[in-house]
Symmetry: C2
Subunit: 359 residues, 2 copies
């Protein structure tokens, strides 16, 4: 059985109950294991990232479908039975989900604290049937199919009234928290909106109230005009190193057209984002010798639940986007404790360097 798939960089073991807890001083939600039967040190050792699966049987490869939980979805160009070969993209539940699909969203106060049951979904999007095929090495159409699969899964999960946010992300390399080398992304559906997403919603809403313009469009126009931080652009997307980059070679990718939901993307959007992603990652690979990295997809919160009523206007002020964080510097408790980052590489220099890299 599959034993090494983990969400984020930490997994919550099969027998562990989890709950969501809100920090009263920052309003940040945390997924906290509530299992108390093991000793804390056992938990610690179990969180160490395992050896790469290279050399062992690859549970995500075509032909090994029986090694994973039954699939949720698969794209089979020539059709065929579930959990068999012939697929190009395949989605399975994470064997060790950080949140559980079963249960209701019980929320309660614990004195002054707030908690919710750890209900959610945690899926693995297997991006290619073959081992050792990084996403950016696939043909454009195949990369587009992966992005389209994100859309299909998001539309399906958006119907679930318990979920407030659908977080799609990709960890590449051990330093980025990946435990398997087989190319994959993850989707976590949560009953809360992650803190940084909430910050972006709040700031872009306030900006719109003030100026009646989208901050995303204003950033995009300034980046195109300045042309100091652009890494790559095509007819659909612009990739640039953000003005206040926290990390060396940090990259944002904005769509040119206004869409608050990623799942509003259509066929041409998928081809364009596939092209942009492919070029940017190939440039990163060449510039930094295949760095480990994290990629996060920011999209609007789900609006099926009643809690979403206050998100009125979202379609004007928020825009979905990607962020890529190559892991070339260490992240410590200083950064996460202060929210203060020190970036030794000017984003202008990083962008220039990547513009010059031929791929």
């Amino acid at each position: 059985m599959l034993t090494a798939l983990r969400g984020g960089c930490i997994y919550v073991s099969r027998d562990t109950m989890a709950e969501l807890r809100k920090d009263p001083l920052t309003h940040r939600w945390v997924i906290v294991s509530t299992e108390r039967t093991k000793s804390p040190t056992e938990f610690i050792s179990s969180t160490t990232v395992s050896e790469s699966e290279t050399g062992k049987t690859d549970p995500l490869a075509e032909g090994n479908e029986k090694m994973t939980p039954p699939e949720i979805y698969a794209f089979r160009p020539k059709a065929g039975p579930a959990n068999s070969g012939g697929w190009k993209v395949r989605v399975i539940p994470n064997t060790y989900p950080v949140l559980r699909i079963e249960g209701q969203n019980r929320a309660e106060g614990v004195g002054i604290y707030d908690m919710m049951d750890g209900v959610g979904a945690h899926e693995i999007i297997i991006e290619t049937p073959k081992p050792d095929q990084p996403l950016e090495t696939l043909p454009l159409e195949d990369i587009a199919d992966v992005f389209k699969t994100f859309k299909l899964r998001m539309i399906d999960l958006e119907h679930d009234m318990r979920f407030r946010y659908l977080l799609v992300f990709k960890n590449v390399g051990k330093v980025a928290g990946a435990s398997l080398t087989h190319s994959h992304s993850q989707l976590i559906a949560t009953p809360v909106v992650p803190k940084i997403v909430q910050d972006k919603l709040d700031m872009s809403e306030a900006y719109y109230q003030d100026k009646e313009r989208s901050i995303f469009e204003d950033i995009l126009q300034q980046e195109l005009r300045d042309n100091h931080r652009i890494v790559y652009q095509n007819s659909g997307f612009v990739a640039f190193c953000p003005y206040a980059s926290r990390f060396p070679f940090e990259i944002s990718i904005f769509p040119r057209r206004q869409m608050c939901d990623f799942y509003a993307s259509e066929k041409n959007d998928f081809l364009q984002i596939a092209d942009c992603y492919k070029v940017v990652i190939q440039k990163l690979n060449k510039a930094l010798n295949h760095p480990h990295y994290n990629c996060l997809l920011y999209t609007a919160p789900t609006r099926s639940s009643t809690a979403a009523a206050r998100l009125n206007g979202l379609e004007k002020y928020f825009r979905w986007h990607l962020e890529i964080f190559p892991r070339v510097t260490m992240i410590t408790g200083f950064e996460v404790g202060s929210g203060f980052y020190i970036n030794p590489v000017p984003p202008e220099a990083a962008a220039q360097f990547m513009q010059d890299v031929q791929v």
Copy 2:
């Protein structure tokens, strides 16, 4: 000359100009190098944390005062000339400061973006004259002298109208970003308030507006009443694993009495925090086999500048406190990109475990 002292986990080289830039989507300030003469990859390699200085001459040890920049302050029980031996605590400027002490706080808009000149202070507090003496192994009175030194430096820097925040922190071990093993802390004075501090100010103010009570006092009372997450307490301080801990064995230390500024602490406070710190770190060392960790001191922003006028009421709703982050799990772009943390160890289990550890 001293070559390895660095702020946070990254240093900005001697010839590097830095500026502060504000991210428009999150209102997070970042210190960004603006030096463009080197290639970005040179910057990258220069940020790798160096080998421990063990075995080489310890530039922070007594007798090697000439290896460091001239001291800003030293505590010499028997007096004596500056930059000589006989000190117990010594403060020097960081040879590679992340911000420069010279210059005015020039702030300007860059299109829709905001920037400020990289003006600030960056000091190293050397906590003991001897190598290989971790802070927690010193006698209580000596640890108290270190905390008192933080106060003296903060009072001095508070007079500088350019500074808005004084961030005191300690990195222990390579994984926490420390480049020297000699026990030391750092102080960075910045013309902006770090994001997480601002979040805490905003939330504690809103709580006070709503309830006319301090959220810090409410948390403290609930922790004492529940008694599920207490690690240690004495007459002045309570150490506990926060309800929504982001990391295994994360610890907060709150003073029992209301003080928004750390520098309001008096002799007895220093002895009590020294005792609390010593016990907590000794327990951590025993429980997790000397983990690398970061410790951050949260205090109120400076109020000498006019920008501080809106901080009226701070003395009622904000309280200084410490947070300790043992580094037992990896921090990746997922966490910093989403603000979403997954903690595999229940804080209740961590607290129980540490309560049981005898030191």
